[in-house]
């Protein structure tokens, strides 16, 4: 690949800087959330920094590979990620009653995070090859995309990692709505899916069923989700306008908050930095999303648009659902807050996604070889 000076000129520094700023806020916040937790070993904020650095390496790697090449090999990449997923469901490392990690040296990795990215690439590949010449996509055209999403979906539900499974469905729906689909056909497939559910139910183990039921009905577990929401809202609300100050959130430091380094990390931030801090973070996130959409709009070809759109919409839903949950307007589902929640695989995949956005953005003026 020949070096192109234009790439450097059109390198999306703004995106990188904003993403890194949010990462830094995340690390600082995880430090506070973990301050009084007894479990020793390596503190999570150090691990998070390590993951961010690993993520930057992958980001650099992805920027150098033309995204068209990635989309060309999308099915292969997706297949590979699914293989990892299958591997994990047999040999994986289980914690918190869910088997979703692969151990690599001292690090563990969740293939289900990677699947989000390969799903976007694969759907992009499908829709950019199978055009329908102006018409909307019908049911028949959606069979392959459905297979692309349902293959990993089944394994992820089995783990069970319902948050990620839900995210895959949301990405899928957002993508097909964007390329255009006949509403009637969408309804038909939706109804069929619902009818198929009891069959799938039959294959699930009791504890998996239990988790799914709790997922839809948090009242089933009054100590889990219900408790989480109350404490989370107290934390956010008590932050007031300016917050209680860094490392001074009582809800956080007294461990009233559940999952305070992962799913509920935003309540830690909101408690300590108040409405002012929350606004700053919201604006940074808004910038990232809008910037991503801009890259999608200005991409030079359809694959570029679809990839950038897919990544941005994944980012958007992650932010909206997580914060909505913490603020008590959406049900408690296990979806992490991008860049702020602790999670190695999630951070690495996010950095790779940012790499892809930069990739698409800086190649927008270049003619095809």
């Amino acid at each position: 690949m020949k070096f192109n000076k234009q790439w450097l000129l059109s390198f999306d520094w703004a995106l990188l800087v904003i993403a890194l700023a949010v990462c830094a806020i995340g690390v600082m916040n995880i430090y506070s959330a973990g301050l009084t937790l007894t479990s020793a070993r390596l503190p999570l904020y150090i691990k998070q920094i390590q993951w961010i650095l690993i993520g930057l390496l992958f980001m650099a790697l992805i920027i150098t590979i033309d995204y068209r090449l990635l989309s060309q090999y999308a099915y292969f990449l997706h297949g590979f990620a699914i293989l990892l997923l299958v591997f994990v469901s047999f040999y994986g490392y289980a914690t918190h009653g869910s088997q979703r990690w692969i151990a690599l040296g001292g690090f563990t990795f969740q293939p289900s995070e990677l699947i989000k990215l390969t799903l976007i690439l694969s759907l992009t590949r499908y829709f950019s090859v199978h055009g329908v010449n102006g018409a909307l996509y019908g049911l028949k055209d959606l069979l392959t995309p459905l297979a692309i999403v349902l293959a990993p979906f089944a394994f992820i539900v089995r783990q069970p990692d319902l948050g990620t499974a839900l995210m895959l469905l949301i990405i899928f729906l957002s993508m097909i709505l964007f390329v255009g689909v006949r509403i009637k056909d969408l309804l038909i497939s939706g109804v069929t899916g619902l009818l198929m559910a009891p069959v799938a139910w039959y294959f699930l183990k009791d504890y998996q069923k239990d988790r799914i039921l709790t997922f839809f009905d948090p009242e089933r577990d009054p100590l889990g989700a219900g408790y989480h929401i109350i404490q989370s809202m107290i934390a956010v609300g008590s932050g007031g306008l300016l917050g209680k100050g860094y490392l001074k959130g009582t809800q956080t430091q007294l461990k009233f908050l559940p999952e305070q380094q992962t799913d509920f990390v935003f309540s830690v931030f909101a408690e300590e930095w108040g409405f002012a801090g929350g606004m700053v973070l919201a604006i940074l996130f808004l910038f990232l999303v809008l910037w991503g959409l801009k890259i999608a709009r200005n991409a030079r070809d359809l694959p570029g648009t679809l990839i950038a759109y897919g990544i941005t919409i994944m980012l958007f839903w992650g932010i909206f659902i997580n914060i909505g949950m913490v603020l008590g307007i959406l049900p408690v589902v296990g979806i992490p807050l991008p860049f702020l929640s602790y999670g190695g695989s999630s951070v690495v995949v996010l950095m790779m996604s940012m790499g892809l956005l930069i990739n698409i953005s800086m190649r927008r003026f270049i003619l095809l070889p």
Partner: protein
Amino acid sequence: MMDMSGRLSGHDASDYRARFRRLFALVLIAFVVLIVRMAYLQLIRGDEYKMRSENNSVRLRKLKPFRGLIMDSRRRVLADNQPAFDLIYVPSRITDIRQIADAVAGVYAKRGLNLSGDLPPLGKTKPFVPVRLERNISLEKTALVEAHALDLPGVVVEVAPVRRYLGGDVISHVIGYTGEISREELEERESDEIGPGDIIGKAGLEKLLDPYLAGRPGAEQVEVNVTGRVIKSLGSVAPVSGLNAVLTIDFDLQTVAANALEGRAGAVVVLDARDGSVLALVSSPSFDPNLFHGGISQRDWDKLARDPRHPMENRAVSGQYPPGSTYKIVTAAAALSEGLVAPETRFYCNGSFTLGNRSYRCWQRHGHGWVSLHRALVESCDVYFYNLGKALGVDKLAEYARSFGFGVRTGIDLPREKPGLVPTREWKSIKLKEPWQPGENIPISIGQGFDLATPLQLANAYAAVANGGILWRPRLVRQIEEADGRVVKQFPPQQIGVLSLSAPHLEMIRRGLWGVVNEPGGTGGALRRPEGDVAGKTGTAQVVGMPRDERAQRARILSDRFRDHALFACFAPYRQPEIAVAVVVENAGHGGAVAAPVARKIIDAYFQFKRERETPRIAPAAPAAGRDGGKRQPAEGQRETAREDGEGEGEGEDED
């Protein structure tokens, strides 16, 4: 239509731009929703939430599960739970522990009671983190605290089940005890369910079986008032009781074995020779595990930890003793298998054995005269075995010792088992950085010198000799059950090795062991029952090395600490062995005189219990017996007759 790769084929640019405009709008609306909600919570209701966070009134209270029961093989409960109350302080305004402790002490003083036990570190604490002021408080104190609730804001009484050990100090080393999880232990655990202040198994089976016994804590979400008292429950998840464990131990036999030691320091191990089940495992002196429930007081702990007799140590598995003459079966097995001696080979014993410029004495100063293998075992002639040791050399002997299970952990289900020591040339050059001396082959042939074995290894080796050569893993836990008796997990007997010894050779050694007890001149005469059904070997382990002169010998007698350990290992009945017993009594003198009578009591008791339990064959006891393993019943009937056969045999041999 925009280029060859097909930009959203068929859609014109304006339609396309409109799609992005709608997206921008959607994203903006979503963010506005979030920000409005945030403003509502933080700006409009901020003060209210701030107050709620300050005296956070919703708490998650842990509900402690009951630990599983531990039962002996006849389902007698050895460890259960009893309800108890802890005094807890949940700090809110006052975060100084001393202040609240003084307040509690003041209330107690009205009735002449004291705030006992070890207080947590006095001083400032973090608000809302519960602190335990006192464990296991009396009903009187409970009532007193409840009555003075208003004077003691934040002080609450919580129910906390406490372990009760019905087996007491008779079986404390096997059962172990529980205690509050330590900081280090907390860090080792991955699980979220265990937190500071939780009770876990600390020693013995309580520690090893903790994953089964512990159960799962439940939790209750409660709303509390300013004084920390629960106003209402908002929902709860019930705790799940732990699973029950059924042991192979026979508590009657355990009690007999514990009493037989009469308080002297030592250990007894009784194994079922047929499958390695541990019927009794005693270490003396012992401790009362009930001292540990709900935190042992510092004074009691110091008394236990500083006791020079080390009551906390489980001598049966962690005590390493020179096996003395009980080890001669290993030397005999090695010499027979290597073809160094035949049954008729004789050596002359004049009371000592000379190698180079050193001489090694036989315990019988006047010598045994010409002795064959059989008589050498019966009379425990040291010189005979010195000759074998010299011919075998250390490494050959070690090879056979390992096949008897010496020098490696047996793998019994107890923590802190020691491997003992079987010396080899390689071991000495690595550990002591010295070459092996030919003279060192001599003491190790009679279980002295570097040789070390645990009482458990000794019993296990004799069990293998008894059952025809199979080395079993000693098994303490038979099964894990649900509360309703449904078996969750079984621990079947497990074979870990085979003696490297041919059947005829093994029979020669077994016959020698029978002679030790039943023939004239045998050192184990104390075990000579009318049935003539015991076979065993005495041992006397010197605590200090071979004495060089009389002065050393006298010094040894003067100081109790340097007196010899008495050992005895045996099995019975001789023909169809059922049990193997090893006894070690520390600093007590000769094995035949001290350890053998202990073994006698145990073997007598074993056969007495067996008779008593078998007599009411059709009586109501039958279903109870059937529960702990129905298939055992008929098998024992067969053995009863077989034992009588053995008796006849035995007498015949005596005439020989």
